[in-house]
Symmetry: C2
């Protein structure tokens, strides 16, 4: 994997770049749609290319449990398995392990998805003692699918990610929560640093780019220390992960502390962030890459992005009579073919066709949004 | 709506024809994918055209309950509502009313779908007294969605179908069950005949083609009587409906009794039949049109049609390792892009992407099957 900065904006720290891999190129700033289990929910790999995306991100945790990395390797790796011609990234599994453990105990994060239909507090009670044991060696956890015990460590995560053969892979880290104090956040960060070195050591000489992850919670000192340390190792790029604080402003402070300490010539990925206004601000601070389930999850709940500041809930009864498309200026397959009225009807009727069409729309919006970001950087307007 | 027989086979009673409507043409013999609630499940209207279908069939019963025919009329009719450029047919609602009433009481038909997850006998007990009251004037029934009472009659069904503005609409009939005896089947047939006359009278001078429905169960005398009577009225085409007997052979006997008594120059639709071998036999006896949820329902359960005699269940564990497409000779979007292994994984993982891809494949197979039928008629090979 190779990265080159093509241009820097004269107005901010935003930059245009290009990632080249043996499976395709990725123009940055870019957004990765999330293909958790090897498919962006409701879509197939051809759809992703058709609406203009050059890359997707898959979740190591989900794929290691099912179908397993060995099976993906036997079928020729993730690109062949998914039929995706383009750049694929896999995360390290660290965030999902956090969700199963501390996230679930503290009622934070994406756990509602893991035990759907249960109240968060009830979930937390049910699963104590924790599904997760974190040790220096690695993490033992129980699958959310069948309770079977699994082990992930820096070496194991790299091995699995090499078997799946994505173009961009991530270092195995320990995420902390906004509820963790300084002491625990520091301990976890130091462990993440030791794990980062073990990941680099474990990696074979493949063409995959390995990204290190900066941790340190919402603490300036820790974030700076982590950025310096992780930035000094031989990674191909960097993720900024873990807790970004309890408020929105804190996210951008974290970026201000972190980014200046990372090497200029390597891509920076702000993990799991996907609100449009946040991405714009983060790009201005020098972020190149994003991934988030936000646009696709919104869509499956019937929420369509009309503009940067307007989202409509198609389940609302008034929309049944609306003959217009979601956005008459949009060229996505949903807006080109169907009215709000029809989408609203299909959602009420439980037809997955609607979830798919709104997913196509929301992702198309995200793709166009990123095109616009790049255009504005090119013209020194951002 | 206009129909013309283009050619008759020299080997059987099979024939090539063309239906012309203001929204498009339909080459017969043809299969209608079923868009129950205004979408073929998991697909959108563009998909249907892309895999080569000229027509779909929607269910009046489902659409009258949700979103209602008035709403469809206000948004410009079914073609505009669904964004479908092609021929649309709507059934009369008679079959679904049968499913809710006698079908549910006797544990026959498509009721498992209406109360999913319940055993048929338990369903039958729960809903006595019946959800349906059949009278000369029409039928009162309660919605499977919310128990609200609705009324359908010949006049009402035609009104609703005119509001939705499909190209082909059907006469309101009373379906009988294979468990009904001669006496009840006769009574229902005679009522269907009176309703047929009321439907013709109720129809405005639209360009819609109205099809009459031949009933009479598995009784030769009744079927002949019904074919003669319905065939003598001014319908644009004919459906052969209701119970086709307890055995497969009986279906074809019913066709032998019925078809010779129907006008040569009008299309004949064998309602709800969709097994490949049955369609081939029915075409040889002079049937022009079919509709069935079979290929799409199969797909959603993970069953893919490999050839006319081979269906594979992608949920079987062995398929996880199969790197081949469902059929390497197939040009459908699923076979062109994805392996059995991937589809099998996505099915296990509960990803609707898999149901969609297998639906595309199974329908593509049906479309190619019908192309082949027409080619063989053209060459006097069928």
């Amino acid at each position: 994997m190779k990265f080159r900065v093509l241009k820097k904006s004269k107005k901010s720290k935003a930059r245009l770049g290009i990632i080249k891999t043996k499976n395709g190129v990725l123009h940055t700033p870019a957004f990765f749609p999330v293909a958790t289990q090897g498919a962006v929910k409701t879509l197939d790999s051809q759809d992703i290319r058709k609406i203009g995306f050059e890359a997707v991100l898959c979740n190591t945790y989900h794929l290691m449990l099912r179908p397993g990395s060995k099976l993906i390797q036997q079928t020729g790796g993730l690109h062949k398995f998914m039929g995706f011609q383009g750049v694929i990234a896999t995360d390290s599994g660290g965030f999902q392990v956090f969700s199963l453990g501390k996230g679930l105990e503290q009622g934070i994060g994406k756990i509602a998805k893991i035990f759907p239909g249960q109240k968060k507090k009830k979930q937390a009670k049910q699963i104590k003692p924790s599904l997760v044991k974190i040790r220096e060696e690695g993490v033992w956890f129980r699958s959310h699918l069948d309770g079977k015990e699994f082990f992930l460590s820096p070496e194991k995560s790299i091995q699995i990610q090499q078997e799946m053969a994505a173009d961009i892979i991530f270092s195995f880290d320990e995420c902390t929560s906004p509820l963790d104090g300084l002491a625990y956040t520091k301990k976890a960060m130091e462990r993440t640093h030791r794990w980062a070195e073990r990941c680099l050591k474990a990696k074979s000489k493949t063409s995959q780019g390995l990204f290190g992850i900066v941790q340190g919670g919402e603490y300036k000192g820790l974030r700076q220390k982590s950025a310096k340390f992780i930035g000094s190792l031989g990674f191909s790029g960097f993720g900024i992960g873990g807790s970004l604080g309890k408020t929105k402003q804190r996210i951008f402070q974290v970026l201000d502390w972190t980014i200046p300490l990372l090497p200029e010539n390597k891509p920076r990925h702000l993990l799991g962030i996907g609100y449009l206004e946040d991405m714009e601000k983060a790009i201005k601070k020098g972020i190149d890459l994003f991934d988030c389930v936000y646009p696709t999850r919104l869509a499956r709940h019937g929420a369509a992005i009309v503009s940067q500041n307007k989202i409509i809930n198609l389940n609302r009864p008034g929309f049944l009579k609306d003959k217009e498309p979601i956005n008459s200026a949009c060229s996505c397959p949903a807006c080109q073919g169907y009215s709000i009225s029809y989408l609203s009807h299909l959602l009420r009727a439980g037809e997955t066709t609607a979830m798919r069409l709104v997913t196509l729309h929301n992702l198309y919006f995200f793709r166009a949004f990123m095109d616009n970001m790049r255009e504005r950087i090119k013209n020194n307007e951002l």
